[in-house]
């Protein structure tokens, strides 16, 4: 087994956070696609509590939960870019907003493909509000991290591949409500370390439609 292994799923934005962090740091790793309908021995052994991807194995030792993996990568490979800054307050802000992405963006995003009618309208409103809060936090900077990728950029970037899906489901345009965020998304996608990790937005939309078929509200 390679020194650094990532157990992951092709379309997972959580797994993609880890891929971006590893790429940004220039860490060589082995990517192992997981079949979640038939979980591997290695996955079950490495993450017995949640049995979920992503899992990072470093020297055989597992780290679980995407944001914890990203922090681990930042701390184990303390080279540029430093994803979390040195200042404790800036670190706290980055963690707060990454937690916000988990609580709001992922939740609203799920409701957007899953729900219909009034629930869908509410999900759209909630998503626009959440993206607006992130737009304000970005505040005209190139990246949330300032001049280069930071913790929050890594936490949010994979979800940009889902913007088209959100827009299609909710009938709104991110660029119209959050031009700064839309520009930031383009900027991220122009980088190798991010672009190589993200799924093509059309494929994401196709995938979301199959989720809707299987799990959506009828």
């Amino acid at each position: 087994m390679a020194d650094v292994v990532l157990l992951d799923l092709w379309v997972s934005p959580f797994g993609q956070r880890c891929r971006i962090a590893l790429a940004a740091k220039g860490v060589a790793y082995e990517y192992r696609e997981q079949d979640l309908s038939n979980k591997s021995e290695l996955l079950l052994r490495s993450n017995p509590v949640h049995r979920m991807i992503p899992v990072l194995l470093h020297g055989g030792r597992p780290v679980c939960e995407s944001l914890l993996i990203v922090q681990y990568i930042d701390e184990a490979w303390p080279v540029a870019p430093r994803l979390l800054p040195g200042d404790p307050y800036a670190r706290a802000q980055a963690r707060f907003w990454a937690d916000f992405v988990d609580k709001k963006i992922f939740d609203c995003g799920t409701r957007l493909w899953k729900c219909n009618g009034a629930a869908l309208e509410q999900a759209t409103r909630d998503m626009i509000e959440a993206l607006g809060a992130l737009e304000a936090e970005l505040g005209g900077k190139d990246y949330f991290g300032g001049e280069d990728l930071g913790f929050l950029d890594v936490a949010l970037a994979p979800f940009t591949a889902w913007f088209r899906t959100y827009e299609q489901c909710g009938g709104f345009a991110v660029a119209e409500h959050c031009p700064g965020l839309a520009a930031w998304a383009d900027r991220c996608r122009g980088r190798d370390d991010v672009a190589s990790a993200l799924t093509d937005p059309d494929k994401v939309y196709e995938f979301a439609l199959t989720l809707k078929e299987k799990f959506g509200d009828k």
Binding site: V49, C64, Q71, Y72, P88, A92, F96, D99, A133
Partner: protein, 228 residues
């Protein structure tokens, strides 16, 4: 750095306690501001516009929200014994189990307590116990999750110290965290609640009862509405 430190909180809430415990453990002088959650202060709404929740730490003009984010901030911004270890893998493990303690123990336990008797409740109790067993194993003969000293994971898991009073309030006959099944956790609870620094900010039984007074119906409704 001697800017004033204020903690906006709701005394009796385990979330607020996490933030206070961190301040006490680091020996930080602070002013506790009790928030009336039914009538939130302008200070709270101005500094935590996103979630409008307590606890909220104000360090000078810097506002930090979310209890575990506050704990890490306090650990990093102030001198004193470190709450998190220095090794990256150990840090990742402490954070992982802290999330687990909050999401899968305290939260599940809360749902179990306030879900009416029946199959759903039995399932939640079983799930709580399975998860508590993992925390029991984490202690592995040590005094605290942090080893000899109280650490980040102890603070995150501190909600478990509330359990006896909450079970009494909910009219539970047999504790979910009984001594026979969870001897290490019960011993840990004793150690944690009698720790010098923690004791100073731990609500008494009466204060916890007062915090939850008149809330029973709301708690039952809240438990029902909570997602998995």
């Amino acid at each position: 750095m001697s800017e004033p430190v204020k903690l906006l909180g709701s005394f009796g809430s385990p979330f607020t306690h996490r933030a206070e415990a961190a301040l006490r453990l680091k020996g930080v002088a602070y002013e506790f501001i009790q928030e009336d959650l039914g009538n939130k202060s302008e200070l709270l709404l101005r500094h935590n516009p996103v979630h409008k929740k307590v606890p909220l730490l104000l360090h000078g003009d810097r506002a930090v929200a979310e209890s575990l984010v506050i704990v890490e901030y306090v650990d990093e911004a102030f001198d004193g014994p470190p709450l998190l270890p220095s090794d990256p893998l150990a840090r990742a493990a402490a954070r992982f189990w802290a999330q687990f303690a909050v999401d899968r123990c305290s939260r599940t336990l809360f749902k179990a307590l306030w879900t009416p008797d029946g199959e759903a409740r039995r399932g939640l109790v079983a799930e709580t116990k399975e998860n508590l067993a993992l925390m029991e194993a984490r202690l592995d003969g040590r005094r605290f999750f942090g080893g000899d000293q109280v650490g980040y994971l102890d603070v995150a898991a501190s909600g478990l110290a509330w359990l006896p009073v909450l079970e009494e309030l909910a009219g539970v006959e047999r504790s979910m965290m009984g001594e026979e099944e969870f001897p290490a956790l019960c011993r840990w609870r004793g150690e944690y609640t009698s720790h010098e620094a923690v004791k100073a900010c731990l609500p008494s039984r009466d204060q916890i009862v007062a915090f939850y007074a008149g809330m029973k119906e709301r708690l039952v409704l809240h438990a029902r509405s909570m997602q998995k």
